[in-house]
Amino acid sequence: MNIFRYSSPQTFYPLAGRMAPWFGVAAALCALAGLYLAFFAAPTDAVQGEVYRIIFIHVPAAWMSMFIYVVMAFWSAIGLGLGTRLSFYMTQALAPTGALFCFIALWTGALWGRPTWGAYWVWDARLTSQLLLQFLYFGFIGLTRSIEDPRRADRAGAIIALVGVVNVPIIYFSVKWWNTLHQGASVSMTKAPSMATTMLLGMLILAFAAWFYSLAVTLSRVRSIILERERHTDWAQSEIAEKGAAL
């Protein structure tokens, strides 16, 4: 089987439709298990008390917001290099989910910051670069939606995605490169996690839930984008007619 067969919107459309529900189910299962661990099984933190439980939402959301932007940049590079339409559709399908996770990360961070640091917001390098990521997401969505010609919108969005990806390593390493109020990473590739096992397990399962949710939502969204953009083709016409009849 040649996987490049699925680089055509027409063949990818039914594949995405078959995969999305499974990822949705996986996301729901992981979310249930993870939330149980996070709010019932995990112990109270010795220093912060119960407020630390915000990290179970905050950390997976922050990871996802950075990762989705990297994936957007990847598809943009493929799209600009090979001129494949589906790559641009994927980039645009990913953006709202990335923006949502970025929003969640910023707000949960603020709600955690007030009781622990004593301030909702400070302009340290980590917080400021994450806010910039939020603006990059909004900028991408705004720009691609405001350009009339879809091919030009694709390319303009791809350029924002590629230029903005420089910000992602800055967010990630900001706590190492400069002294910040935000603490360093509790979980990283280079050292053993500095968390109790149940806490870590809950956080990782919720990170998987975020992954599966993103996959499910993005695949569903890319199906809508495919139909909208391919509406001049016969197969999309008949698919749209079928959907219309089912309503």
């Binding site: 912060q48 640091w117 004593g118 302009w123 490169w177 400069w178 500095s194």
Partner: protein
């Protein structure tokens, strides 16, 4: 060379240039990007007197004194090399503790005392249940007595 190879190389080169430009800019402004100055930087005179800045480090164990008025407090911040005494009037955050990280915003007085207008607690990346923390504290205490 195929056109699409050229395009990928172009994308790669432009990204590398952008990353390089970002690195240069961030490197140049690194003094302004840091959230706080350390006591050692204050000692070397890197921070001008009379200007507002943030001072960060560990709260020296045993240095916290709460004044009789119930609002003012005195403590000292260290980076293990130098110590700067701090005076603050206001409510300290709940997680403010001796031996833990803190960031104070204010001005350095001519007497070398840092007069803070705002104090934030800096949390570390360790998360553990109270029982584990007790065990760690006991282990540290034992290690100290053995020395």
């Amino acid at each position: 060379m195929k056109t699409r190879h050229k395009r990928f190389i172009l994308i790669g080169v432009v990204l590398a240039l952008l990353a390089g430009a970002a690195a240069l800019v961030l490197n140049t402004f690194s003094d302004n990007i840091v959230f706080f100055q350390t006591p050692s930087e204050v000692a070397t005179g890197k921070v001008p007197q009379g200007r507002t800045f943030r001072l960060g480090g560990m709260v020296v164990a045993g240095s916290l004194v709460r004044e009789a008025d119930g609002l003012s407090s005195r403590f000292a911040i260290t980076d293990t090399a130098k110590i700067v005494p701090v005076r603050f009037t206001g409510a300290l955050p709940d997680l403010f503790k001796e031996g833990k990280g803190a960031v104070a915003q204010g001005k350095l007085g001519p007497d070398g005392v840092f007069v803070a207008t705002e104090v934030l607690a800096k949390h570390d990346e360790n998360y553990m249940p109270p029982e584990a923390k007790d065990a760690v504290d006991r282990a540290h205490a034992t290690a100290k007595t053995l020395k």
